[in-house]
Every structure is written in C-alpha cells, then in structure tokens.
C-alpha cells in the first residue's frame, strides 16, 4: 500500500507540474471545443493523435490520452441540459431532468449540479481505483456473463420506474425499443433480423444518429412549434432563475444518492465490454426508485435526476481503467483505443504495469482526474454564457442546431442514411412527445435490449454446457434481488397511496 501511495503522489506531482499540466489542460479544451458539435467527441481526437504521438515519451502520451478520455463528457452534459441534446449516448439520462430544468429557467442550477457531480464523481472513481489496485485482478474475474446479465436486468426494471404517464404506453415504447435493438445479426447464429435486405441495417441501428434525432431534432421541432420564443421561455438572461451555487452544493445535500450513483458508475465502468453508456441510465433509474422524500419530480426537473447520471458517468471513466490496467481488457471504446496506444508505446497492462510501472498508471489516472475537473470548472466559468443559450431566440437556435445535428449525424460514419435516420427519429420523437408517449422507456430498452439478449444467450449456453451454475452466483443473485426490490418498492409506494415521482404538480 505504501508503494501505491508513493506512486500516486509521484504521479500527481508529475501531472500538476509545469509545463506538464498544459498537456491535459490543452487536450481537454481541444476536446471540449470539438465536442460542441453533436456526435463528435474525444474518440475521434484519440484516433487522430495516435500517429502523431508515436515518438512521444510514455508519460506525455499518458497525459494526453488520459485527458482525451475525460474531456468530452461534460460538453455532452451541457448540451443535454441546455438544449435537450445529449452529446454522447451516455449523456442521454441527464437530458431527462436537466432539460426540463432549463425550460424552467433553472439552467444554472442544473449546470452547477452537473459540474459538481461530474467532478466529484470522477474523484470518487479515482480513489476507488487507487484503493482497488491490489484487488483489481481478482475482482474482474468474479464478474462474468451471469453477473452482467443480472445488471442489465436491473437496468431494464428501471423502465417501470421512470415511465411517466400511461404505463401501457411506456411498456409499448419499451417493447419497440427492444425490438429496434435486435436489428442486425443475431449474436449466436448470425442470422440477419429485421434488415429487410438492406446493408445499412446489418450492423444494427446506429445509436448516435438515432439519439441525435430522438433528442436534438425532437427538441428543436418542439421548440419551433411550441409558441415559446426560447428554450427557457425567457427572453432576457437576467430573468433566469436558478443559482449555480445552489446547483453545485446540491451534491452535498444528497450525499447518499451521489455515493450510490458513483458506485454504480464505477462498477459499470469496471465491467469489460459494457461501454459505460448504461451507467447513467442505471444510476438515474435507481435515483428515481429511491426517491421517497417529497415524492420527487423525476422527468420534470428534479435535480437528483441530474446528479445521479452525472456522477455515474464520470465515475465510470476511472472504473473503465481497471480492467484495462489489470488485464489489458478495455472497459469501453475509449479504453480500447487507450490500450492500442499503450501497446504501441511498450506499456504492457497487467502485473508489470501494476507493480513496476505504477507511476505511469497514476500519470494517466491523474490526467483523467484533472481533465474532468477542468471540464467542470470551465463549465462553471462559462455558466453565464452557457445559460444564455436558453434565451437565444428560436429563430436562431433552431436552424443552427438543425444544421449541426445533420452534419454530426453524417460525420459519424459518413453515411447519408444516418442523416435520414436522424430525421425520421426526430419526427417520431416529436410526435411521441406531443401525444404523451415517453421516449425514456424506448431509449433505455434500446440501449439494454441487445446486451440483454447477448448475455442471456451466453449465460444460458454456458449453463446448459455445465460451465457455470447460474443458481449459485452470489453477485448475480444480489443484483437480481436489487432489481426485484426496486420493483417491489414502487408497488409498495402505490399501495400505500404515496404519490411516486411522476405525480407532482409542475410549477
């Protein structure tokens, strides 16, 4: 433990020394700038940077790529809150309550909450990583397909909680979302499903263009047709209510929620291959489930609906490094690219990295940590100008966002079909929103449906072959119990006559 602390301090000193600190700060700012465009993020910059950093020394490579990993997240949160447009799939859960807050003129509060939850969530993840370094390898081996299946089931049960309005409509939307997630190849037999002979759908429905449509396009159509002049309904920034300070301090008013969400984010980040996108959704769901005091107004601008996914999203970044360092197994796309870079620079994950090269590990970790704080601080510093986006007249905002969304959808894979998908889902999302069909269950089911089927198939096959005993997996059992408990709590609330989250009056 002493050597770990020593390495952590050395890494900290290296990252925060001059001029080394310029690397992560510069990279973060560049990432934030690029992430202004919906659909573009840190991954693109990482790919571009690979050949350029070939002859850099390993420490500076770690500085740069650690910052790229953390740099794009908060910009995605900003656009989620201000415009209802998730910058990345993982920011979608922030939209559910962040955007309603902006519409109520409380953008500053939401941004403050997101910034503090983001920075502190990242801090939590980093310290968990440090604490778990001696246990990393044993930990990951325990989490197999059965455990992962149980986690996904828990995530799916949040649909029942976050569905507002008609339960029937929510479940139908969820069913449609799951069916959309099955488009493409069946993972076990490679049979093509629901592609109608088109090449475009063979790899499934691409999520970034779909999210751009379902959120960005929908919100702009809604704005254009709502009669509101601006997102917040106010035309002068001075009339915006909300307080940055109140938002930033909200983490401390909900400490247990923050802790739970950060743990969820870290755990999800640890699981190899998940990608971390589910972290925000699962955290949001558990926050909605556990809201008892004052009922809560989830989906209508409850600050806890911002805190939970933000904390989880940033905690997962550090969590995703755990399988990467321990085994050389990426926790998501960003860590996959990081792994490529590490290998190219002769940094071999595993025992050697965690013993002899621990200092390098901490350079990367502290760079990620600094990057998350920089994005939060920049977000806080720019809260005034950022919040002003909610008073930009729709005659300017709508065309700008429409164009950037269109370009972002195309830039994802260079396919015009993605643009068509964005427009189609934009129209669908608008009609859904207008007529009382919640998009939330559809999105959650879409995210988790395919993963559920894949791991169900693997788990059942392994159980059938006698390789695992599904009924004797304590972690999986615990997660399934958590899912059952959360469903049970919801019914119990209704039976006691206590209004759950969705029932409160809007101000």
């Amino acid at each position: 433990m002493e050597s770990i602390l020593h390495a952590a301090l050395e890494g900290f000193r290296f990252v925060f020394s001059w001029p080394n600190v310029l690397y992560p700060v510069g990279a973060t700012l560049l990432c934030m700038f690029v992430s202004l465009v919906p659909g573009i993020g840190g991954m693109t910059l990482m790919a571009l940077a690979i050949p350029f950093t070939l002859f850099w020394d390993r420490e500076h490579v770690a500085l740069l790529f650690g910052a790229f990993m953390g740099g794009a997240t908060f910009m995605g949160s900003l656009s989620s809150i201000l415009l209802g447009i998730p910058g990345k799939a993982s920011n979608a859960a922030t939209t559910f309550d962040g955007y309603p807050m902006a519409r109520q003129g409380k953008a500053k509060t939401a941004i403050g909450a997101a910034a503090s939850a983001s920075a502190l969530g990242s801090t939590f993840g980093v310290f968990v990583l440090i604490a778990l370094i001696p246990l990393l390898r044993g930990l990951i081996v325990q989490f197999g397909p059965a455990e992962f299946l149980a986690l996904v089931i828990w995530g799916l049960t949040t649909i029942a909680v976050v569905t507002q309005g008609s339960v029937v409509k929510g479940l139908v939307a969820a069913g449609v979302g799951m069916l959309l997630s099955y488009v493409g190849y069946d993972p076990r037999t490679a049979e093509l499903r629901f592609t109608f002979g088109t090449l475009y759908l063979e790899d499934g429905i691409p999520l970034p263009p779909l999210f751009l449509g379902l959120f960005a396009m929908t919100e702009m159509l809604d704005l254009a047709t709502s009669g509101r002049a601006t997102v917040s309904g106010q035309t002068k920034a001075e009339r915006l209510s909300g307080s940055l300070r109140e938002g930033a301090l909200s983490v401390f008013r909900h400490p247990w929620l923050f802790l739970r969400s950060s743990i969820i984010g870290t755990v999800v980040g640890i699981i190899p291959g998940v990608g971390g996108t589910v972290a925000g959704f699962v955290a949001y769901g558990q926050a909605a489930q556990s809201a008892r005091k004052h009922g809560g107004r989830f989906g209508q601008g409850d600050i806890r609906g911002v805190l939970a996914p933000e904390a989880a999203n940033d905690a997962k970044d550090a969590g995703a490094l755990i399988p990467t360092f321990a085994f050389g197994i990426p926790g998501g796309t960003g860590t996959a690219m990081l792994l490529t870079v590490m290998t190219m620079h002769g940094i071999a994950p595993g025992k050697t990295l965690l013993t002899d090269q621990l200092g390098l590990v901490f350079v990367l970790v502290w760079s990620l940590f600094l990057s998350n704080w920089v994005t939060s601080l920049v977000g806080v510093a720019t809260v005034g100008p950022a919040a002003r986006m909610t008073v930009i007249h729709r005659h300017f905002l709508v065309p700008i966002i429409l164009v950037l969304t269109t370009v972002g959808a195309y830039a994802y894979q260079g396919r015009i079909e993605d643009v068509c998908l964005t427009y189609a889902t934009g129209a669908l999302g608008f009609w859904m929103k207008k007529h009382g069909w919640s998009r939330v269950p559809l999105v959650i089911a879409l995210m988790l449906g395919g993963i559920f089927e894949t791991y169900l198939g693997i788990t059942l096959r392994l159980h059938h072959l006698g390789r695992i005993d599904f009924w004797h997996r304590p972690i999986a059992a615990g997660l399934l119990a958590a899912a059952a408990l959360s469903l049970g709590l919801r019914w119990a609330q209704a039976a006691r006559g206590r209004p759950p989250a969705a029932a409160q009056e809007m101000p």
Partner: protein, 180 residues
C-alpha cells in the same frame, strides 16, 4: 360517437412496427427468434389494449382510475390527477390553439428543406444557406443578421470538420449532376 385519441396514430405506427417484427420473427430459426418473439407477443397485446383504450372511452375511464391509483396513489386520486395530463403538462399550452397545426406543418417543411438543401448542395454549403433562409424568411430578421448566422455556422463546420477532424462531408448531388 367514438373518437380516436390524438395519440392513436402513434399506437397504430408502433402496432405496425411490432406486427412486421412478429412476421419477420416467425421466419427465423428457433434460436434467433426466441427473444424477439418473447418481446413481440406481449408488446402486440399491449398495443391492442392501448388501441382499445383509444377507441372505447368507457374502458379508458375505468383503466385511468386504475392507473391513477397505481401511479399516483390514493392521494393522487383525491387530487384528480390524470396520468395523461402529467405528460401534456410538459408542453406549455401555446398562446393560440389554432397556431400549432400550422406551425407544425411549417416546421416539418423547413426540416425537409434542410435535408434537401444538404442533400443537393452538400452540408458545408447547404447548411449555411438553409440557416440564412430560415433566419431571413421564417425569423424575419434582416439580411445582415441572417448572413452573420450563416457565415458563423459555415465557419464552425469548416473549422471542426475540415481543419480539425479532416472528415469529408457529403458533397451534394447537384455538383455531381452538373459535372463539377
């Protein structure tokens, strides 16, 4: 007289999606169809139920009572909070009830115009031109303002996509047709 709910078209659309999915699922092998079938059948049943709620007001009232109690609890029933209203509240009532329909058609028309503009002229040019026309003719702003918005947007597209990311953008069919 039975009246369809305004959300019925969505119900029918989802019903069509699930119906087509079911038809396709039945043509798959047993392993590939297992999970999709398990989703299709109950979802289709729920769609049918929702359609019945849309069509039969009596049934809708009885079910709404159940949903009120289930969703909002006894306290909510006392407050006469209807679940449908919870979402409708997300959308502030427009000032002029007659306006939304017209502005919706116009909004969709502009959306189509953006798609057409980008498709024909390419995004780097079509996007700013669309913005120019929107701000000038829909927003009824002056030419200087409209040009400034278009120029700024074009600059962002060029700087981010061309200079920074070196990502090729859709060139536009018109140039290919014209042989440029």
């Amino acid at each position: 007289m039975r009246r369809f709910s305004p959300s019925t078209p969505i119900t029918l659309l989802f019903g069509a999606i699930v119906g087509v999915a079911l038809w396709q699922t039945l043509q798959l092998g047993p392993v590939a169809r297992l999970v999709p079938l398990s989703v299709c059948v109950p979802t289709l049943a729920l769609v049918a139920f929702q359609l019945a709620l849309d069509v039969f007001p009596g049934l809708a009232r009885r079910f709404a009572a159940f949903e009120r109690r289930e969703l909002v609890g006894v306290a909510g029933v006392r407050e006469r909070v209807h679940p449908e209203h919870l979402l409708v509240r997300e959308h502030p009532t427009p000032e002029d009830p007659a306006k939304p329909r017209e502005s919706e058609a116009r909004a969709f028309a502009w959306m189509g115009a953006m798609l057409a503009s980008g498709w024909l002229l390419g995004f780097a040019l079509g996007g700013p031109i669309f913005a120019l026309l929107y701000v000038r003719f829909h927003g009824r702003r002056g030419w200087p303002v409209a040009l400034a918005v278009a120029a700024g947007l074009g600059a962002v597209i060029v700087v981010v996509f061309d200079w920074t990311l070196n990502a090729p953008l859709w060139r536009g069919l018109a140039w290919a047709w014209l042989g440029i």
